[in-house]
Amino acid sequence: MNILVCFKNVPDLDALSVNDWLIEDHFQVDTSYVRTMLNPYDESALELTLKLGDAEKNDDFKLTALTVGTSHLDKVLKTLYALKYDLGVRLDCKSDIRFNPCFVSRMICNYVKNIKNHQVIILGSQSNVGDNAKTPLLVAEGLGIPCITSVIGIKLAEQKDCLSITSKIDDLIIEQIVKAPFVLAVGDVPTSYIRVPTLKDRIQYKEKEIKVFTLEDLEIKENDVEEENDTQLIELSYEKNGRNCVFIQGHHSSEKANVLYKEYLMERIK
């Protein structure tokens, strides 16, 4: 089975303080000084797929990790090599695609259609910055294949080219054996933090080549970036309606708790 996992590296926005949220020209927000990390949903997708690989002994089982962006992402792909992803792919793109999932999904679809077909395509449901929550759905539509959303579990199935998928709709848990091809949008999966590679594997895979494809390789024109988008950003703003917080003072925790109980809590929990 040939599995493609698409991921995004995102800034840790929790690290920004109130004064850091400055909207610059072209609705840009400088987040370059905070650390980047795997988008949490994508991280779950990458780890769930690695677990599949742990369980599958068949040599035909191949994992590809794909991302869209510039060369600074190559170090993340190298880490995924060290975790035993078979192929790391970067679709080279310097354009502002924060709010353009239509374009991102077209790049992924063209990669699958024109360069390398995959039976299963796995993506996180949503990622920060754009918070578009559209890419996996548009990839499924672009490829004309089914899509399962809010996926919380992926296991091997006995039948050929099939996987066992657990997903959620409201208060329903659905377990399905499904035959590829299909797209999975991974939701909230507990304890799915990605594993850490060994130093030995990091060194071993340091030089392994990342496959880079340009827009031209994907038969996409640069001008298509904005044309492709079905929405247009016209305003970006920061507004927080905070409350005037009263800090309770005291020499120690129990003294503060005492004040909290008497002055604020007691009347509210009668």
Partner: protein, 328 residues
């Protein structure tokens, strides 16, 4: 503009969906606007239990075969679209239905947007507003192509603005005319070799409790959760958690509060050991009164709190438990 709202009748949460969509329509459409409701369902719907806002002039009921095959729902919606040609299609906030919004728009060459808080029609443009950058920034978008397919943001079941008529039963009309529409909605499901369903035993009441204790990673470890369960119980409240807590499996996913979990609006929320990331605070900011307890003086949670204690969480919780025990 001809508008429809689309509900998934195949799940028990149809009541919540209707409440959310009613509140959204009341907030975003004028009193004179007429909106159709389309209900897609694989089961019988008890209309006596569902309230519809005064905007709803007609209900169209479409039977589908499955609860979970999105492709079938998409086909049904598109067939209904071809018959009625609405310009605006509003979907609920749950991931399955918001996925339908995106895929229907794609097939109809329209535009889609997920997590919409507000919409307006201005100078021939349909403009939507949503949170981006992990709930830190608000963005406005022009939707370029009709039909405009939007899924609404979570939390419309807890409207605090005066425009909400959630509790005003007189403002709701009698059941609008229900028309059953029959289509051949079958799609190829050969790719699904087998399936089973299980109903999740969700913790009752976190969404409606008057008192909620919300814990974050700052409580330290899974073993400490029991202390906060006790604190919540003594206050006759419910215990919820931030994303890091459930992702570490300290508590079940059903207790998650925030952008990817529940949006709550209790009378009192006590946030303990929660840093206050925007994706969490969006889940509690509608609370009437917020108490924050955290040992980090700079924690952003204090900015949305009414009262705060900067101290060790466990010590404060234990002291509060002692006080509450003494009360009994």
């Amino acid at each position: 503009m001809k508008t429809v709202m689309i509900l998934n009748g195949s799940v028990n949460a149809i009541l919540k969906q209707a409440e959310e969509l009613n509140n959204y329509s009341i907030k975003n459409f004028s009193k004179n606007s007429l909106i159709e409701a389309w209900i897609l369902t694989d089961q019988d719907v008890n209309f006596n239990t569902i309230s519809f806002s005064p905007h709803i002039n007609c209900i169209k009921l479409v039977k589908v075969r499955t609860k979970h095959v999105a492709e079938e729902y998409i086909k049904a919606i598109i067939m209904l679209y071809e018959k009625c040609k609405p310009e605006i299609m509003i979907f609920g906030s749950e991931a399955f239905v918001s996925g339908l919004a995106v895929r229907v728009a794609c097939r109809l060459k329209g535009s889609s947007c997920v997590g919409v808080k507000r919409n307006q029609y201005l100078e021939k443009h349909f403009i939507v507003e949503k949170m981006v950058y992990s709930n830190n920034l608000t963005a406005k978008f022009i939707m370029k192509n009709m039909p405009y397919c939007i899924s609404i943001a979570k939390g419309f079941n807890h409207m605090t603005e005066q425009s909400s008529i959630t509790d005003d039963s007189e403002a709701y009309q009698k059941l609008p005319n229900v028309e059953t529409v029959t289509f051949k909605t079958e799609v190829d499901t050969e790719w699904i070799r087998s399936f089973t369903f299980e109903l999740i035993n969700t913790e009752e009441g976190l969404n409606t409790s008057k008192v909620v204790v919300a814990i974050g990673k700052g409580i330290g470890s899974k073993e400490k959760v029991v202390l906060y369960e006790k604190l919540a119980a003594l206050m006759e409240g419910k215990l919820g958690a931030s994303r890091p807590v459930v992702m570490n499996a300290w508590m079940p996913m059903e207790r998650l509060i925030g952008a990817s979990g529940l949006i709550i609006a209790p009378e009192l929320c006590v946030a303990i050991g929660v840093s206050g990331a925007a994706a969490f605070t969006v889940g509690i900011e509608k609370s009437k009164f917020i108490i924050a307890i955290n040992k980090d003086q700079e924690a952003p949670i204090f900015k949305i709190a009414n009262v705060a204690i900067c101290a060790d969480c466990e010590e404060v919780a234990q002291a509060l438990i002692n006080k509450l025990n003494g009360r009994i």
